[in-house]
Symmetry: C2
Subunit: 125 residues, 2 copies
DNA sequence: TCTATATTTCCTTATTTCTCGAAATATCGA
DNA sequence: TCGATATTTCGAGAAATAAGGAAATATAGA
């Protein structure tokens, strides 16, 4: 089997990603960026949307970036953040790894649910 | 669309679950239980497999239980822990929620990867 | 160049989390 | 009932994390 992303996620990476997400404010930011898609969102807009102080938000964005879950690019005076969908895939894959070990009947529903939840909007192949 | 699990996961639950997993020792335990499947594993066996002190392991198991990620049953002198696959589904679903918002083309690969990773063993529908 | 906007960095304090030793609880078999 | 096994609870000290005020940096436009 061939993976579409470059490198298998290791436990250390997974812990960093999970730690970054294990915080109400950061989780909110991340999900906002997931929803925003590849276009991303300026830090200021995120602060506005979440009602966070700029320095607090900056710390959150930094942590999420270090964890590899988001990345940024400058656009004029603004800095645009966007979710890293590849990293997200890696994390989900890591969490589900070996879920099927010998028991596809158990794993199946888990994966189907995940699949259904992610694509609730419909039209998702 | 109908969800197979009882209740939508909320941010508070997700943070609790992510916090529980955001720790090398606990993540290892959880993945071990995911691999072990519904049969589960006795606390002593987990301690042996991971090389953890019994009290430290107990704290980890407690946290994972409170987060709803695992549950336990007594069997003689042993206590058998097993992963809660429904909770796992809920968490994955929560993380991927709105991933598709208007852009199935982006969401698709993420979900497919997760699906492929979880069922790498093959035979998984 | 000067001023305003956008974001980050530095620093300090309060809180939470982690780990371990020691003691307690529960179950089993003799 | 007694001793051994399996696991949990308690308590304390060390380390990591969180939040906010104030100042610094970078970009844009007049």
């Amino acid at each position: 089997m061939k993976f579409l992303y470059s490198r298998m996620m290791e436990q250390t990476d997974a812990v960093a990603a999970l730690s970054a997400l294990a915080h109400a404010g950061r989780l909110e930011v991340f999900r906002l960026l997931v929803k925003a898609g590849p276009a991303g969102m300026a830090a200021g807009k995120i602060a506005e949307a979440t009602g966070t102080l700029p320095n607090t938000l900056s710390a959150s964005l930094n942590l999420l970036t270090q964890a590899g879950l988001i990345h940024s690019r400058r656009d004029g005076r603004s800095i645009i953040y966007s979710a890293d969908f590849e990293a997200m895939s890696g994390l989900l894959t890591f969490l589900m790894e070996d879920c099927c070990s010998g028991e596809p009947a158990i794993c199946g529903p888990v994966v189907d649910l995940a699949r259904a939840g992610g694509c609730a909007a419909e039209g998702c192949a």
